[in-house]
């Protein structure tokens, strides 16, 4: 797990040595490892959005259309730290709130590292192809209400113990679902990087002459 990323989730642009040490210690106490699953589907374009063939998932909106414009296939993925992490986080929130905030950020960084592992596995499985940035329901104009279909297509409750609540949130809390396009040509970054970021105008990292890590 990337402690720098956990510190960024904490909003610590210039973390003190003490905070770094604390974050590293809390990160080291996490026993959970991210569990993930993914599936690759053919892609076809329909009036209502980009359809992932054979699973009934249709990705509506301009972002999916742009991101997958050059892709003949796309992977759906899901990753979670599981229910046990949530339970520990709740316990920590009752005992020591400042540690809980750090644990929360570490959990976010850890689940993202699981998503990175899926990308690496996909890249290994399709060495001749190029991946798009990954993007998720609720991100940009990709509606959150596709979440139940995405989880059903991945059989996520059986495979990962991952559920969608009535209000379309993922449960356990530290979970991500995402789409990654596969193309025969190198894919331009369309999400990651300062040029594409909505927060670029008043970003605290940019003010300090650096970037957040996604900006690299």
């Amino acid at each position: 797990m990337d402690i720098g990323e956990a510190l960024r989730y904490l909003g610590a642009a210039n973390p003190s040595e003490e905070l770094r040490r604390q974050a590293a210690e809390i990160a080291g106490s996490i026993r959970e490892t991210p569990r993930y699953t993914y599936r690759v589907f053919g892609v076809s374009r329909m009036p209502e959005g980009v359809s992932l063939e054979g699973c009934g998932v249709v990705l509506a909106g301009r972002m999916a259309e742009t991101m997958l414009s050059e892709c003949s296939q796309a992977a759906l993925m899901a990753c979670t730290l599981g229910a046990e992490f949530d339970r520990r986080l709740r316990a920590m929130q009752a005992r020591d709130m400042s540690s809980a905030v750090i644990l929360d950020a570490c959990g976010s960084a850890l689940v993202e590292s699981g998503c990175d592992a899926v990308e690496a596995e996909l890249a290994g499985r399709f060495p001749e192809r190029f991946l798009t940035d990954r993007f998720s329901p609720g991100y940009g104009d990709l509606p959150l209400d596709v979440q139940p279909e995405v989880c059903a297509a991945l059989d996520a409750s059986r495979r990962l113990g991952l559920y969608v609540t009535g209000s379309l949130l993922l449960n356990p809390m530290k979970s991500v679902t995402a789409v990654i396009g596969l193309s025969d040509r190198p894919q331009a970054a369309r999400i990651r990087g300062c040029a594409y970021c909505r927060l670029r105008e008043d970003c605290p990292y940019r003010k300090g002459g650096t970037c957040c890590g996604e900006g690299m």
């Binding site: 993914y38 599936r39 690759v40 054979g54 009934g56 339970r87 297509a153 113990g161 609540t165």
Partner: protein, 252 residues
């Protein structure tokens, strides 16, 4: 009923069926659909699966009712009792000449119970009760509660079947390599809780292949006097073509 259930195990060994979802996918079902609606839309497809399992030696076939609960069917416009009634009679028709038993299959509701999720225990019990009553009315020989990962949910299902019907109940849960379910339940706590609540057999299903299930089965046998059930997965499906990586030989 007590007597009947003992009869199930009179030969010491009761052979259950194999996977339903996998068979349906082999026969063309798309991932992510609602497979329970096939009971109404394509009974012949299902009968083929039941007949094949009965011919292969299954003494029990699981009717296609795994997700036929009020929560999962809510958006389909069908009620659990319609779907379950159809499912049990389709299965019965397919195997009536073989003496094979037909089980009401009860899977997880698809939402987490409190406190991890927002579904109250009483509501979960209500959904399971609705299934159990429909299954008994449709003439199922027994109920199997399977693929549970939360002991609370397994309890709700077991209690609902026991309290509203006379059907024998088998309960199986899914464990990973760590010997726990996704929500942290161990084999020993499952076995002791479910035996205490009156399950007729307990066991393990899904998640792991036969090779990795063996040590967990040993732990299960050490913690219960009930007949035990093993219903492993054929490994994991390939992310690209969706096929499972183990063939029938791995189960022998």
């Amino acid at each position: 009923m007590e007597r009947e259930c003992k009869e199930f195990f009179k030969d010491k060994l009761l052979i259950l069926d194999g996977a339903m979802g996998t068979e349906l996918q082999k026969r063309g079902l798309k991932p992510g659909g609602v497979p329970e609606l096939l009971n109404l839309t394509d009974p012949e497809l299902l009968k083929g699966v039941y007949r094949d399992y009965a011919a292969a030696g299954s003494q029990v076939v699981y009717a296609n009712t795994f997700g036929a609960n009020g929560l999962k069917l809510a958006r389909t416009g069908y009620s659990p009792s319609e779907v379950i009634e159809a499912a049990v009679s389709v299965a019965r028709e397919a195997v009536s000449e073989t003496g094979t038993l037909v089980a009401l299959d009860v899977g997880p509701l698809g939402e987490l119970l409190e406190p991890m999720g927002s579904l109250p225990f009483e509501k979960a019990y209500g959904y399971f009760r609705e299934m159990a009553e429909a299954g008994a009315a449709a003439g199922a020989d027994l109920a199997v509660v399977e693929t549970m990962t939360d002991l609370q949910e397994a309890r709700a299902a077991l209690l609902a079947v026991k309290e509203s019907t006379d059907l024998p109940v088998f309960v199986t849960m899914s464990f990973d390599e760590t010997g726990r379910t996704f929500t942290g339940c161990t084999v020993a706590s499952m076995a002791r809780t479910l035996e205490g609540l009156g399950a007729d057999a307990v066991g393990l299903n899904c998640s792991l292949g036969p090779d990795k299930l063996a040590p967990l089965l040993k732990e299960l046998c050490e913690n219960t006097r009930l007949p035990v059930i093993a219903k492993p997965n054929a490994g994991l499906p390939d992310p690209v073509d969706g096929h499972y990586d183990m063939g029938p030989a791995a189960f022998v």
